[in-house]
Every structure is written in structure tokens, then in C-alpha cells.
């Protein structure tokens, strides 16, 4: 047993002792499971391209006792259109002083999960229900043993929440290595609608491991729009796992921009459970330095007539590494499914690396499905064209790189937010000319 596993198990035992009866058992099972399995290794297929060995020798403190008083740059999480409900977590700790829930429409319940744990309400139990038993899900299991807070959102049937819910996860330098665990539950009743903007940010030098698990359930005809902006600090490790279940006619539209963190891993498991459900997932990982980002998607068509589309772009410069895994499963009986998956990658340096693995499994009839992955370099002809007009080479490279992935942002309907994300993306590229007008 390595130092990391031992440290986290000790912390888990403490958390378990302080947990309500209904939860303690779940935590114990999760802890024992993690003790048995340890961290995923290269022999676990889903972790083939992401090596966690660097974690093994780390002995992070679990939780940051001073998180409540850490100073964070509030201006850093101002986003266009996000002036409504906002929940802010610093180093995994909820900060009421930075958060605002305000007046919510009747039928909307939003708040930190911690308050719901003591009395074991159904919504809290649901968040801890999934077993994450499959190989490779050890960190999600560990999360069940350690997470004591997170975000809980319930939107009752038919309620339309106009204002986006802004969730902020800020990493601040704790002067030592820390690990934090959060667990979210999001449930939209039949016909309900909501938008979530999830933002990760952090200072360089903040050494930490964030571990997030999220359950999302969308009732019949419900609609969730999700925007994720990940600009965690370069010394942060971020692991997140999201499980979604979509009822009949429900729809989920997600746009993700993965720009930060030294090492990040994102697992999305989505089940199109009801007839005619629809999912549209877009995102781009733009990496440089020694950044490593591994995005793993699994979409399961479990009912007839469902539609899914995944568009993921990976851009790796310098010594960065972008990993993509996309699996579409069309289960028996899920006839008339329409599933499209594409992963395009741009390799900007001979020392960068791209690994991509699209998988399609079809067990139904009359299915329209396509998947594809490409890895390429910047087009020399385009580069020369721009330079021949006077655009300096570095700027021309940035323009073409930006163009390669900016259409991902078209999935954001609210123009000012789309423009803001475009600027964040441009800032992440070397020497982008002008203001993007």
C-alpha cells in the first residue's frame, strides 16, 4: 500500500466515524473497496494513457482547515450572464460569504449538500447511491468515502429556471499539498429546465487534488444546459466523474473548455434511458507545457429513437498530452438511435502526444451511427496564406489553432458568455492578435 492510499484511508476512517448511520455503511464499503483496489494502474484499461503513479508518493492533507478564510480573487469568477445563484467552494469547502442563492422560483431547491446529509433525505441518499463498481472507478469510490459536501439542486416538474446557476470551484494555495472531495446531485423533474455554469479556477502553486463526483437525473422532457470552464491552476490535479440519466424526450447540451490543471481526468457516463432523449456534448482540451488531460465519454442508448452527438477537440502543444476515449453503446431494443461521435486533434509540437480511442457497439436495428478520430498538424498552406498577408507566424499559428476549436463554443446560446469563453481560449494560446472582434 502506497503513501497516498494510506493517507486517504486514514482520513476516510475519520470521516466515517463522523457520519450519520445511513451513510456510514456506504462509506465503509467504499473505503474497504479502495483499500483493496488502490489507485487505478496502467492495467486498468480506462487508465491506459493516464498514469497516476505521481500521486502514489504524495501525502496530501485531506481537506483544508483554513479554506474558510483563504483569500480568492472574486473578479476571477465574474462571467457574463452569471449574476444569479452562485455557489462558491474554495479548496473543496463551501464559502457562504462568497456565495449567493437569492430568491429562487418556487420548486427550486439549491444549496450545499452538507446540510442534507444529517437527516438522510432522499436527495442526499441518491447522491451516494451509485456504486461505481466497475474497474477504473476507484477514485469515484474513494469520493463516496470522503465527500462531505457538494452541490444539491432539485428543480420540480415544469419549473423553468432562467438564470444560470453558477458553480465555482477555486483552488487556493494552502501552503501544503491537499486533497478535497465534493459530490453533487442534480435532479430536474419532468419538463423542468435549468442552466449550469461550472467554473474551475486556481492559482499556480496551489498543489492539490480535487476529486468530484456528480449525479444528474433528468425527468421526461427536462432540459439541462451545461457549460464547464476548467481553468484550474497548473499545479492542481482534477478528477471528475459525472453520471447522467436522461428520461424520455429529455435533453442535455454541454460545452466544456478544458484549459487548466496539470493533470486532469474527466469521465462522463450518460444513459439515454427514455425514448427520444437527446444529448449534445462538445468540448475542447487545449493543453501546453506538461499538461495532461484525459476525457472519457461513454454514451449508452438504452431506448428507441434517442439522439447523441459528441464533438471533442484536443490540442496539445509543447510536451502536453491529450487523451480521448469515446464509447457509444446502442443497447438491444434501442432501435432508430442516432449517434455521432467525432474527435479531432491538433498536434502542435513534436514532443506533444495525442491518444484517441473511439468505440462503437451496436446491438439494435435501424441505427444511424458514425464515429471518427483524426490527428493532424496545422495546415502549412493556411499558415503561409496568413503570413503572406503580414500576420506574424506565431499569431498565424494561434489564429489557426483558435479556428480549429472555436466552433465548439457555438453550442453556447448566450452570446456574451460565448464571447467571454472565446477570449479565455484565445488567452490560452500564444500571442493571439487583436481582440477577437
Amino acid at each position: 500500500m502506497n503513501a497516498f492510499v494510506r493517507t486517504l484511508l486514514d482520513a476516510a476512517a475519520d470521516v466515517e466515524r463522523g457520519s450519520p448511520q445511513w451513510l456510514a455503511e456506504t462509506r465503509r464499503a467504499a473505503r474497504e473497496d479502495f483499500a483493496r483496489r488502490g489507485l487505478p494502474g496502467p492495467r486498468d484499461e480506462p487508465w491506459k494513457y493516464t498514469n497516476l503513479r505521481a500521486l502514489e508518493s504524495r501525502v496530501p492533507r485531506v481537506g483544508d482547515p483554513d479554506a474558510a478564510t483563504r483569500v480568492v480573487d472574486v473578479a476571477g469568477f465574474e462571467l457574463p450572464g452569471c449574476h444569479g445563484p452562485r455557489l462558491v467552494f474554495v479548496n473543496g469547502v463551501f464559502r457562504a460569504d462568497l456565495s449567493q442563492v437569492g430568491a429562487l422560483p418556487a420548486g427550486v431547491e439549491l444549496g450545499p449538500l452538507a446540510g442534507l446529509l444529517a437527516d438522510g433525505r432522499d436527495s442526499a441518499r441518491a447522491v451516494f447511491a451509485p456504486e461505481h463498481a466497475e474497474p477504473g472507478a476507484a477514485l469515484a469510490r474513494l469520493n463516496a468515502a470522503l465527500a462531505t459536501d457538494g452541490v444539491s439542486l432539485d428543480v420540480a416538474a415544469g419549473v423553468v429556471l432562467e438564470a444560470p446557476i453558477h458553480l465555482v470551484f477555486a483552488g487556493a494555495d494552502a501552503g501544503a499539498d491537499i486533497a478535497w472531495h465534493l459530490r453533487h446531485g442534480i435532479r430536474l423533474g419532468a419538463g423542468a429546465e435549468a442552466t449550469i455554469v461550472e467554473q474551475h479556477l486556481g492559482a499556480a502553486g496551489a498543489v492539490q487534488i480535487g476529486n468530484l463526483v456528480e449525479q444528474v437525473a433528468l425527468g421526461a422532457g427536462a432540459r439541462l444546459r451545461h457549460v464547464r470552464i476548467q481553468e484550474a491552476g497548473v499545479d492542481a490535479t482534477l478528477v471528475s466523474r459525472t453520471d447522467l440519466v436522461l428520461g424520455a424526450g429529455a435533453s442535455f447540451d454541454a460545452v466544456a473548455l478544458e484549459l487548466g490543471a496539470g493533470l486532469s481526468r474527466r469521465d462522463v457516463r450518460l444513459r439515454l434511458d427514455g425514448e427520444g432523449a437527446r444529448a449534445d456534448l462538445r468540448g475542447a482540451a487545449v493543453l501546453r507545457g506538461r499538461q495532461h488531460m484525459d476525457a472519457q465519454f461513454e454514451l449508452r442508448h438504452a431506448s428507441p429513437g434517442a439522439t447523441s452527438e459528441v464533438r471533442w477537440r484536443g490540442i496539445a502543444d509543447q510536451r502536453a498530452r491529450a487523451v480521448f476515449g469515446g464509447t457509444i453503446v446502442v443497447e438491444e431494443g434501442a432501435d432508430r438511435s442516432d449517434a455521432q461521435l467525432s474527435n479531432k486533434n491538433l498536434l502542435l509540437s513534436p514532443h506533444a502526444e495525442i491518444d484517441t480511442r473511439p468505440v462503437l457497439e451496436i446491438h439494435a436495428d435501424e441505427v444511424k451511427a458514425a464515429h471518427g478520430a483524426t490527428v493532424g498538424r496545422l495546415d502549412e498552406r493556411s499558415l503561409f496564406y496568413l503570413r503572406s498577408r503580414g500576420v506574424p507566424e506565431s499569431a498565424a499559428r494561434s489564429m489557426l489553432t483558435f479556428a480549429f476549436c472555436s466552433d465548439i463554443l457555438d453550442g453556447i446560446a448566450f452570446e456574451p458568455l460565448r464571447a467571454d469563453l472565446g477570449q479565455r481560449l484565445a488567452r490560452h494560446l500564444p500571442r493571439m492578435p487583436g481582440d477577437g472582434a
Binding site: 503570413r387 503572406s388 472555436s406 492578435p433
Partner: protein, 253 residues
């Protein structure tokens, strides 16, 4: 303005230009004609600074400086413009954004003030009006989904905005119908100026009915084999390029 002396260029290990010499003075329009494979496009590309063109001998002097040592963007800032034979489609890069970035980069390199978006838009609208180009072009990605004629007109539009001192038009007439050809020629003629020179590379005489050259050169086998006035273009029109082969045979004998 431009002096090319005994230029030898290799592309992918093969010698394409074999001792080309040419002098172009400010205010002049020179036409370069010749059969396919003579090295016409190589000349345009090597002047604009495309990679993969290896100069093995000779020199190119532009406004007193060695053009060949400059990066493509530095040549652009110095006033060299190449209208591409095959303009590249660049999805995701907005035409207006690109052109403003290009113009401002050139101005910055020359130590001139950059244009803000209002000043730039004013300039662009003026050029669009003069060239009879729809402003719809501004909102699209660079050449994306443009017809052949639209691409060529976009080249001329860019030239009008960037106001180069030396413009090289590489088979700008190819693939154009007569109406599009007239529009392109009109665009070029509007830019004719005592301070500006043009090198018009073409396979056909037709373009020269509309852009009347001061000098016509025949490029064959990698060098200029004959130069003359406009009548030379008409002779080529009547006789084709076959006489070049005869001339060569005669030379060998």
C-alpha cells in the same frame, strides 16, 4: 523596384527556375506568360517567401534590400503582395478579423499606428464599394465556401485594403468567366499608381485585354526567353507556345 538576377530555384530536388532575370520599375505592369510547367507559379511563390523553394543561385533585390532573407510577413510589411492562384479556405477565421490583423501587423512593423475597429471598418466599406464586392463577404470565414470567382475577388479586395507596392497576380484570371475577369481587372486598374508595380502571371492573353501591360515576358524552361511590348502577348495568342519548342530546337542545332 524589383530586380531579379540569374535566379535558380529548386523545388523538391528539381530545378524549376534556371537563371531567371527580370527588372520591374515602380508604376509598371509586367506580364509573365508561358506554358504550363514553365515555372510561373514558382516565381510568385518564391517572391512571397513560401517554404520549400530553395534558391540555389541568383538574387532578388526589392527596394534596395535582399528580399530572399525576409520572412513572408516581413515581405508583406515591406509591400509585397501575392494574389494566390488557389486561395486557401480557412474555416473558423473570419475574413474581417483576419484582414484587420494582417493590416495592423503590417502597420505595426512599419512603425505606423494601428487602426481601431471603426477606422478599419470605414476603410473596408470604402474598398468594398469601389470594387463592387458585397459586404456579406466580410462576415464569412476566409474563402470558405467561396466560388472560384469570389475567391479571386477576395484576393483583389485584400490587395485593395493592404495597398501593397508590388503586387504579384498568379493566374488570377484562371477559372474566371468574362464578367468576373472584367471585375478583377477593373479592381487592378483602379490600383495602378506611379508608386506601385504589378507582375501579372498568366497563361492566356485574354486578361491583358483588360490589364494592359507595359512589358510582356515569356517564361519557358525556367527563364525569360523573350521580352517585348504588348504585341508579344498578341503573337503568343495567335501562335500558342509551340514556337518556343521550335526555337529551342533551332538553338540546339
Amino acid at each position: 523596384m524589383l530586380k531579379i538576377d540569374n535566379l535558380h530555384v529548386r523545388v523538391a530536388g528539381r530545378e524549376i527556375l534556371k537563371g531567371l532575370s527580370l527588372e520591374v520599375a515602380a508604376g509598371e505592369v509586367h506580364a509573365i506568360m508561358g506554358p504550363n510547367g514553365a515555372g510561373k507559379s514558382t516565381l510568385g511563390n518564391v517572391l512571397a517567401g513560401r517554404e520549400g523553394y530553395e534558391v540555389t543561385a541568383g538574387s532578388v533585390t526589392y527596394q534596395g534590400q535582399d528580399l530572399l532573407t525576409l520572412a513572408p510577413e516581413a515581405r508583406a510589411a515591406a509591400g509585397v503582395f501575392l494574389a494566390f492562384q488557389y486561395p486557401v479556405e480557412i474555416p473558423g477565421v473570419n475574413n474581417t478579423y483576419f484582414l484587420r490583423a494582417a493590416l495592423n501587423a503590417q502597420r505595426k512593423a512599419r512603425g505606423e499606428a494601428e487602426l481601431d475597429s471603426m477606422q478599419f471598418l470605414k476603410l473596408v466599406r470604402e474598398k468594398l464599394r469601389v470594387l463592387h464586392v458585397s459586404d456579406e463577404l466580410l462576415h464569412r470565414a476566409v474563402n470558405e465556401g467561396f466560388s472560384g470567382g469570389e475567391k479571386k475577388r477576395n484576393e483583389i479586395f485584400q490587395m485593395a485594403v493592404l495597398e501593397p507596392k508590388l503586387a504579384i497576380l498568379d493566374e488570377t484570371d484562371s477559372g474566371l468567366d468574362i464578367d468576373a475577369l472584367k471585375l478583377v481587372a477593373e479592381g487592378v486598374n483602379r490600383l495602378r499608381d506611379p508608386a506601385r508595380a504589378f507582375v501579372v502571371i498568366t497563361h492566356y492573353q485574354r486578361l491583358l485585354d483588360y490589364i494592359v501591360p507595359d512589358r510582356v515576358h515569356v517564361l519557358a524552361e525556367g527563364r525569360i526567353v523573350q521580352s517585348g511590348d504588348r504585341d508579344l502577348a498578341l503573337k503568343l495568342e495567335q501562335q500558342g507556345y509551340a514556337w518556343l519548342a521550335e526555337r529551342k530546337l533551332a538553338g540546339a542545332a
